[in-house]
């Protein structure tokens, strides 16, 4: 047994965790050209260090108490803005999730990106992103969080646009940056409002003010909604979700790390970290839950018909993030964080496995794949594990976390949202197994490819994640105790300890719904006993609408983008003709005046002399007329 001092010592060094990836970033920036493919080892080694320290910190937090260290950063008048780090339950858990997935993705990329010339750049960007994400989760105040929040956005932008010579990648990177920025503005305004009302960015101070009635109810609701808008942008919630599927233009390991496991979960993390603020406003909670529920079913329905393997997973991610928001909005703090964790594992697994499939067949179109089960002896089973986990099949991690969410929605009494969540669960099981059967059963439709299993550096991370996708659910089950739930809420004055055990039938219903989805997918895509055109084939109205993602992009193009373009053209004309005209007019008239005056400079000395004499004469006349001194 360790004594108290050791645990604090463990957490005191938490600040070093983000610095390893930063070091990796700086090293690769400076020496990447020299190191070439050896840069992978630097990235892998340093993120492994981060992971080991994160485990130590988590261990310290389990044994000990919340640790917080900060110092004055800026003193502006009365306001003292601090910088530092904090290790509480949520932060410690996030540290381990982020550093573990980041380490595995670093390892995986070594195999996946081996033929890439710009490998050092790739690892440098990964390092930058990991640094920002780890910094984000240990920030003790909103301002520091906001800085890292923008930095992860930058990392995401750079990595989506990694293949910048592809037009789609360039457009996707810009889209991701701009769409998340819309959300960031909300977060920024919310943050400033909170600072204005409480005089502090610190989470604890804000929560005390909220609880002590220092802020009016409407202001609480407003700030909570504004902060949620920030979370919506990052977490791809409807209507700011359109960037996330497009972000799949980036390399697949990036999709696994940033757009499945970590950065997109930052929105969920933000809501969880600011949870007491949300709890203080029922309308904000309702909005969080509604947006989450809507996103869950909306994205899941789009996922039903997509053809690109990564896009299916992307819509699945959006849908699962909606689930997490739904959980948080209905008061299921543990459920949301729990699902965040299990999702990070199984979705990272699915993306890495999808990357391995793409690596093998060199296409992303699921209709061109098939029959890979026998050829990919490792990828196939781990993909199946991930699919079972996300579908919520009993005994896999997704089952427990999804059950928690459904129970929390049911207990909240919001039966519409509960119904949406159940249907979304059905959709999820269906589209995931549609994907699975299309890729792994039948026979390969694309001709002329030599299918081979991926190298060990790629399969090893997948195996680790597959193990986690199975066992990570057991830390919070209704059967063996809710360790995670009681630990997360312990010592937190704003959260009552949860011992949620929703009606037993929910678990049964959830299982049934998942199995029904799987069975339907099996009948349609494996046995072909139900025609694919059963509900509407290609070309039918339903299929077209879903395949085109409800035309949200087109809608934005036709309204906001068009309007912005119109206004910009209008303003550019104002600039060109009125503002620029004014400036140029003044410049031109001064120039003309100058030319006019320069006529007097004839170069004739006699003219100068005559004018000087004339001036003297005038002066003398004035002198004479005024009779002495002037005035």
């Amino acid at each position: 047994m360790l004594d108290k001092g050791d645990e604090d010592a463990m957490m005191e060094i938490a600040w070093i965790i983000p610095l390893f990836p930063l070091l990796s970033f700086l090293l690769l920036l400076a020496a990447g050209r020299v190191l070439k493919e050896k840069s992978a080892y630097i990235g892998i080694l340093l993120t492994l260090c981060s992971f080991l320290f994160s485990v130590l910190v988590l261990w310290g937090r389990i044994r000990g108490d919340t640790y917080k260290a900060e110092a004055d950063w800026l003193n502006i008048g009365e306001a003292h803005i601090k910088a530092g780090f904090e290790v509480n339950q949520l932060n410690a858990l996030m540290l381990v999730i982020v550093s573990l997935v980041s380490f595995l993705v670093h390892l995986y990329s070594k195999g996946y990106m081996q033929r890439e010339d710009r490998l050092p750049v790739f690892y440098a960007y990964l390092g930058l992103f990991t640094f920002a994400m780890l910094g984000l989760v240990i920030s003790p105040n909103l301002l520091q969080l906001y800085i890292f929040w923008e930095l992860v956005g930058l990392g995401s932008f750079l990595l989506i646009g990694f293949y910048f010579y592809k037009e789609e990648a360039k457009a996707a990177a810009k889209k991701a940056f701009i769409m998340t920025r819309i959300g960031d503005v909300g977060l920024f305004i919310g943050m400033i409002l909170l600072f204005w009302k409480t005089g502090s960015f610190d989470f604890q101070v804000i929560f005390q003010e909220v609880e002590g009635g220092g802020i009016t109810q409407s202001m609480i609701t407003l700030t909570a909604i504004l902060i949620f808008i920030g979370a919506m942008g990052k977490s791809g919630q409807f209507p700011l979700h359109t960037w996330l599927p497009d972000a799949m233009e980036g390399p697949t390991p990036v999709s696994a790390l940033i757009h499945a496991a970590t950065m997109v979960a930052a929105g969920v993390y933000l809501v969880a970290a600011m949870y007491p603020l949300f709890l203080a406003s029922t309308s904000a909670m309702l909005i969080v839950a509604s947006i989450g529920g809507l996103t869950a079913i909306f994205a899941a329905s789009i996922g039903l018909v997509q053809r690109d393997i990564k896009r299916i997973l992307a819509y699945s991610t959006v849908s699962q993030l909606g689930y997490m928001m739904l959980a948080l909005g209905t008061g299921g703090y543990t459920a949301g964080v729990f699902h965040l964790m299990t999702h990070a594992f199984f979705k990272a697994l699915l993306f890495l496995a999808a990357g391995s499939v793409i690596h093998a067949v060199h296409t992303q179109d699921v209709e061109e794949m098939g029959g890979l089960w026998k050829k990919l002896r490792i990828t196939g089973p781990v993909f199946l594990i991930g699919t079972l986990a996300i579908s919520g099949v009993p005994l896999f991690s997704g089952f427990f976390s999804k059950d928690e969410i459904l129970s929390s929605a049911w207990e909240n009494g919001n039966y519409v949202l509960f119904g949406l969540a159940v249907i979304a669960a059905f959709f999820t099981a269906f589209y995931m197994f549609r994907l699975f059967f299309l890729v792994f059963s039948g026979r390969l439709k694309k001709q002329g490819v030599l299918v081979h299993e991926s190298p060990r550096s790629m399969t090893f991370p997948m195996i680790i994640l597959a193990v986690l996708a199975v066992i990570s659910g057991y830390i919070n089950t209704p059967w063996f105790g809710t360790f995670l739930g009681s630990w997360l809420t312990e010592g937190n004055p704003y959260l009552e300890p949860e011992h949620r055990s929703g009606p037993v039938w929910i678990m049964g219903a959830a299982t049934l719904v998942s199995l029904a989805g799987i069975a339907l997918a099996y009948l349609i895509y494996r046995r072909n006993s139900i025609s694919r055109e059963w509900l509407g084939g290609e070309g039918s109205f339903l299929h077209t609408v879903l395949y085109n993602k409800y035309y949200v992009d087109e809608f934005y193009q036709g309204t906001i983008v068009w309007l912005t373009g119109f206004v910009s053209i209008f303003l550019s004309y104002i600039d060109r003709f009125i503002v620029e005209g004014l400036v140029n007019g003044i410049a031109a008239s001064i120039h003309k005046l100058g030319r006019l005056l320069s006529r007097f400079q004839t170069g004739q000395t006699q003219h100068y002399g005559a004018i000087a004499f004339l001036g003297l004469a005038v002066l003398v006349i004035i002198f004479a007329l005024t009779g002495g001194m002037f005035g």
């Binding site: 320069s598 400079q601 004839t602 170069g603 004739q604 006699q606 002399g609």
Partner: protein, 104 residues
């Protein structure tokens, strides 16, 4: 001997100065312009000497000062003519109208 009044000297100086000024401002030949400037300087000298002898407080200072002026005028004439010579070598003219390279 002292029957010539101060105003006569002053009028003489004025006439000389005006002739000089007119010549300096209107003549085309640079040599004439330089001579005109000498006339103006000498008009000043007459003033100085007249005031030193017949002014309200007669003193030798005016005459000394006029000596200085004569010396400076001699130097000026020497430098001016030297400049004019080199200008003539360059431009093959002493017409002051053509010496206008300082204009805009």
């Amino acid at each position: 001997m002292t029957s010539i009044p101060l105003s006569a000297y002053l009028v003489l100086a004025l006439v000389l100065f005006c002739i000089g000024l007119y010549g300096a401002l209107t003549k085309k030949n640079t040599v004439i312009v330089l001579i005109s400037i000498e006339l103006m300087l000498n008009a000043v000298n007459i003033n100085l000497v007249a005031f030193s002898r017949l002014g309200p407080s007669p003193s030798i200072t005016g005459q000394i000062f006029s000596l200085f002026t004569i010396a400076v005028a001699a130097a000026e004439a020497a430098v001016g003519l030297a400049v004019l010579m080199s200008l003539y070598n360059r431009k093959k003219t002493v017409n002051i109208d053509e010496m206008n390279s300082l204009k805009h």
